[in-house]
Amino acid sequence: MSAARVWGWLAVLAMALAILFCMGLAFGSVHIPPATAAASLFGHTAPDPVWEQILWQLRLPRCLTAVLAGSALALSGLLMQTLFRNPLAGPYSMGISSGATLGVALAVLAGAGASGLPGVQALDGVRAQLGVAGSAVAGAGLVMLLVLTVARRIRSNTTLLILGLMFGQIAGSLVSVLQAFSTSEQIRSFTFWTFGSYAGVTWSQMPVLAGAVLAGSLVAAACAKPLNALLLGWTYARSLGVGVRSLRGWLLLAASLLAGAVTAFCGPVAFLGLAVPHLCRGLFRSADHRVLIPACMLLGASLSLAADMAARLPGGGRALPLNAVTALVGAPVVIWILVRRRAGRDE
């Protein structure tokens, strides 16, 4: 694909994101015209003060969270797919989100009678947020490190995927054990949190989430060139002068930071991270990370906004679990990959 077409498609994705963002602001139990919503962002006060309140206190943080989470998960998935050289790698499919969940559960319980989970009751105080986000990132990183260690001995993609699922199961059962020692209120909050939601992130939490996503993206962008070399495998990458040890470390850090932070604030969100990189590769017909990194972030953000709106479709203050929506889109992508690979190579 020529450079001009790449830029063209990126522009299209950016436009789609802007449109979806305005729709996200307008869409909800109280309808606010998209134009008014967009104007309000640029300082034109909306005619109704209630609208103003809804926009600034509810919808804008929610849409921003959707954008941050979607782009972070998609980017994390892209990094993991190249790092593991496995098309089925992703934050959710490889148990990384479960590791983050375990981190969150530990943090909440260790905070004894913690004020609750992010998605439900606002965690205030920067230290508390950093604690939850930090332990989520640590949990994600730990599981990823485990999978990475095992992956060096295992060639089969599918086996690796099952291993990831098993690590996720272990983390999940540890969470269940923790729940046995929790109050029913905590369990209820926790269960809602695991459905995934963008609604719980407040303005005071936004800087932590945004900071983590920004840091992860910057590391990823700086690794774009060696990531391309890694497409040939670790041995060739090394023969091309890539410092594989440090690259592995940076990728691990970036992917855990992105997936862990999002999980801490939004719950484990399924399939976005796995599916978006494949959609981008298909759309751009490219494997170049300098193209795929911005493409995944834009498309991930857009799909994330769309999924959030779909989850709110029932209306009347009711919402579907976000995971139900993302799985409906994401799972078929996984099936498609599996079928295509099986067809190409008869075993």
Binding site: L231, L232, T235, R238, S239, V242, R285, A287, R290
Partner: protein, 352 residues
Amino acid sequence: MKAQGSLQVTAEAGAPLRAEGLAVGYRAATERRVLEGLDLELRAGELVCLLGPNGAGKSTLLRTLAGLQPPLAGRLFLAGREAESLSAQGRARRSAIVLTERIEAGNLTVWDLAALGRHPHTGWSGRLSETDRAAVRRGLEESGAWELRERLFDELSDGEKQRVMLARALAQEPALLLLDEPTAFLDLPRRVETMRTLRALAQDRGRAVLLSTHDLDLALRAADRLWLISAGGVLRSGLPEDLALAGAIGSAFDQGDVAFDKATGQFRIHGHPERRAHISGDAALAFWTARALEREGYAAEASGEGHDLAVRAETTGGPEKPRWIWRARGAEGVASTLEELIRRLRGHRAPD
């Protein structure tokens, strides 16, 4: 031209590859030295084939020379600079390797893949300059992959993939090109073509090329020098013909019923012949007659006395009407095909 410039620098700086007392192997719980005490030199413009039986350490040596695993002892110089003092990038600018491992490249086109060879030359973003593009193009042309440039790598045949991987290595513009069994998986015409390409790269472009291969016949004909590893872990370097005449090839490969025949430059695979045959006549006929008789347990000899069998191959009736006049102990006759000759010989031998 940049390529020429970089080669001049190489020529000033010393041989593309030199090793002193090099030991290669693995460092696990205990150190396992596969080869040691190696003093090697590869000069610019030289094609060297690394030969040896399986497990002799060919891949280990190549991987060590490429910096993919550390040497266990000794010193290694790339274009005059000690390898250890070079950065990973600096090393990748001096030497490139093509491995046997197969890669899956997803959506990479041939051009994209070859362009990855510019990795050690480009800045942090990997953006290709005009010079980089020219180097990629040259690599694709020299390896014969230019026509494939817009295809997806994953859709190519084995031979085509091999050419693209070579193009990627050439795009690195290395003074030293290492290849691990580049002719494996290829059919005969492709093997010959690969060798010819590599020869041209060495001769015309002044690169030093080192490749490991099991293709002894091709190596004997195409290599400027052989590095011959015998099962005992001794590496001998020399002109192919010198090594053949000195019996070094035989001592490296001979095993059981397989033996290198100095006279023909080929391996005898039929064990220890019990009978001797004297074959004379038309050269081509005699060659194939000898092949057929070797399978029957005869050692074909061009001269000498006291044979068990004498065969004279003639084309007096025209080139498409050959005949074989044969005389064994107590029997003789004329055959019009080799099949008939063999059948008669078997029939004659059957009673005893």
